[in-house]
């Protein structure tokens, strides 16, 4: 019974054409999923189908192709909304997580944040949920304050409580760290932040692809994620915004589609979410994202998460036996996403990644756009292996063998 509920990785792998290719003559072991995921043929086919059969601009075309394109594009919006538990009109299509967060910075931040205000983010943020707030603070004269980390890579919630006492305008936090893997209790954090009067922005780039996410349960004001990290195409992302707030804040960019009426000196805005989708949207990739959501939904997000926890358990145990392996972040698989950041002996992560690449193993190395974490860990960089639905224990075994190769080359 339990067996039936587990993901059928062999069947899943057959859906991903790229997994058939060889790298340096070896089977591709793709463990860089936190950076971007591979695409199943269902997603690739959806793109080809759109361009081949019903390519047209959306919304204002009254011809047949335009109607089909609009229908597929809006259906994708509905699929995304269904996946994360919000209303379709609360889904704004963007280029990705970074643009989603910058949209909040401009449309909400520049309207609402004043000199002397406090903004709160955390030390574990990806640069995309940190630098926009630094820029906003600089522009408005507000002060950005950061919640620190416990030794196990979790947030110092006591520090957050203290900062909430300053009635901050904003609390920005990641749902799951792209380096430490830490899963934050965002519903608790957002609940407290809301009580303190703050607007909450959750970076869901590493969570939405990997676990069930229910935005209505989290209770945040904004939630951002990227299509390409969840089997979808690059160049398409999502900003969830609470409807009342989206209606209240300024537009992001001016142009076509986002307007209702235009006069010589001013204009009025379209309904949400169109108010935030100026110009021709990324129609094809939004449709591709819809196909990716279909794929994930057919697997079931709970099973996706269970699969990753199972792999994490296996990997953490196997890697803990590798001499010289240093793991960062929480130790318990249940408290972390499928991201394993590590260092190996005194070998620099780029050297680790280069030697693993020779074995066909793709991992990430460097600072992972999270230099505050590198400073906190007091390391120049880390290596990072991250899982997804097509990974299995054989990939972990390949990683362990690859590290032994690194040991040999560097004579550890």
């Amino acid at each position: 019974m339990l067996k039936q509920q587990m993901l059928d990785v062999k069947k899943i792998r057959a859906d991903f054409p790229i997994l058939k290719r060889k790298v340096h003559g070896k089977r591709l072991v793709y463990l860089d999923n936190a950076a971007t995921t591979q695409k199943p043929k269902q997603v690739i086919d959806a793109l080809v189908d759109y361009y081949t059969n019903y390519n047209a601009n959306v919304h204002r075309s009254v011809h047949r192709l335009g109607e089909e394109a609009t229908e597929a594009f809006e259906a994708s919006r509905g699929k995304v909304a269904g996946l994360v538990g919000c209303k379709p009109e609360e889904v704004v299509f963007t280029r990705g997580t970074t643009e989603s967060i910058n949209l909040v910075r401009f449309a909400w931040g520049e309207k609402e944040v004043r000199k002397g205000d406090t903004l709160v983010a955390t030390t574990m943020e990806h640069h995309s949920n940190l630098v926009p707030w630094q820029l906003l603070a600089k522009k408005t004269g507000a002060t950005l304050k950061l919640v620190g980390l416990n030794p196990d890579g979790t947030l110092k919630l006591g520090e957050l409580e203290k900062l909430l006492g300053e009635s901050p305008k904003l609390v920005a936090v990641s749902h799951c760290s792209n380096v430490l893997g830490t899963i934050n209790d965002v519903s608790k954090i957002c609940g407290k932040a809301k009580k303190a009067g703050a607007v909450t922005v959750v970076d869901g780039a590493q969570a939405a692809p990997h676990m069930p996410v229910d935005i209505s349960e989290i209770g945040c004001d904004f939630y951002a994620f990227s299509g390409h990290k969840m089997l979808g195409p690059t160049g398409i992302g999502v900003l969830f915004g609470r409807k009342e707030l989206l209606e209240k804040i300024d537009p992001f960019q001016g142009g076509g589609e986002m307007i209702r009426e235009v006069f010589p000196d001013h204009a009025t805005w379209n309904d949400v979410p169109y108010k935030f989708e100026a110009g021709t949207v990324n129609i094809a990739d939004a449709i591709g994202l819809g196909a990716a959501v279909d794929y994930l939904s057919s697997l079931g997000m709970e099973r996706v998460r269970e699969h990753e926890v199972r792999l994490l358990k296996y990997a953490l145990e196997a890697l803990s036996r590798v001499k010289g392996f240093t793991l960062y972040g929480p130790r318990e698989p249940e408290r972390r996403g499928g991201v394993i950041s590590f260092n190996f002996g005194d070998v620099h992560s780029h050297d680790v990644a280069t030697i693993l690449d020779e074995e066909g193993i793709a991992i990430r190395s460097g600072h992972h756009c999270a230099q505050l974490i590198m400073r906190w860990l007091d390391v120049p960089s880390t290596s990072r292996a991250s899982f997804y639905v097509y990974n299995d224990t054989d990939d972990v075994d390949a990683l362990v063998l690859g590290l032994e190769k690194v040991r040999k080359v560097f004579k550890l």
Binding site: H24, H348, D351, P380, V409, K411
Partner: protein, 134 residues
């Protein structure tokens, strides 16, 4: 291509036993450079003697084996040469110095970091000397 084609014995040797590592109190040239991709860092210092000869070249830094070994080897290569020699230094010279490892486009930047820092420092030094003459 294999790891042995990249991690030549000479690279690992300089990485493990860096030559000319450290800071000096009196130097005429100093330059810092980083590779934002990897977070590799190097600081290069040069003491210039009579006739523009680089009498002493030291470095500190942290990063991957290729960036650190390459910088260390470069300090040895540069010592005793005139500062003008740095102007002619090329990517090919560095690759040759490293024993012709097979570096892809991502890793070649690591190999060239020390040269970049040294060139920055030397151009600054030569520019300042020009200003003085004027």
């Amino acid at each position: 291509m294999s790891a042995a084609d990249i991690y030549k014995e000479i690279i690992l040797d300089y990485y493990r036993r860096p030559r000319n590592y450290g800071k000096m109190d009196d130097h005429d040239i100093e330059a810092h450079d980083t590779n934002p991709l990897c977070g590799d860092e190097v600081d290069i210092q040069v003491k210039v003697g009579n006739g523009g000869v680089m009498e002493k070249v030291m470095y500190t830094g942290k990063g991957c084996a290729i960036s650190q070994a390459s910088t260390s080897m470069l300090t040895e290569l540069a010592k005793g040469k005139k500062v003008d020699w740095v102007k002619e230094l090329s990517k090919e010279d560095i690759v040759k110095m490293l024993g012709n490892p097979e570096l892809g486009p991502a890793r070649i930047k690591c190999a060239l970091l020390g040269m970049k820092a040294l060139k920055t420092g030397v151009y600054g030094y030569l520019g300042a000397a020009l200003d003085k003459e004027e």
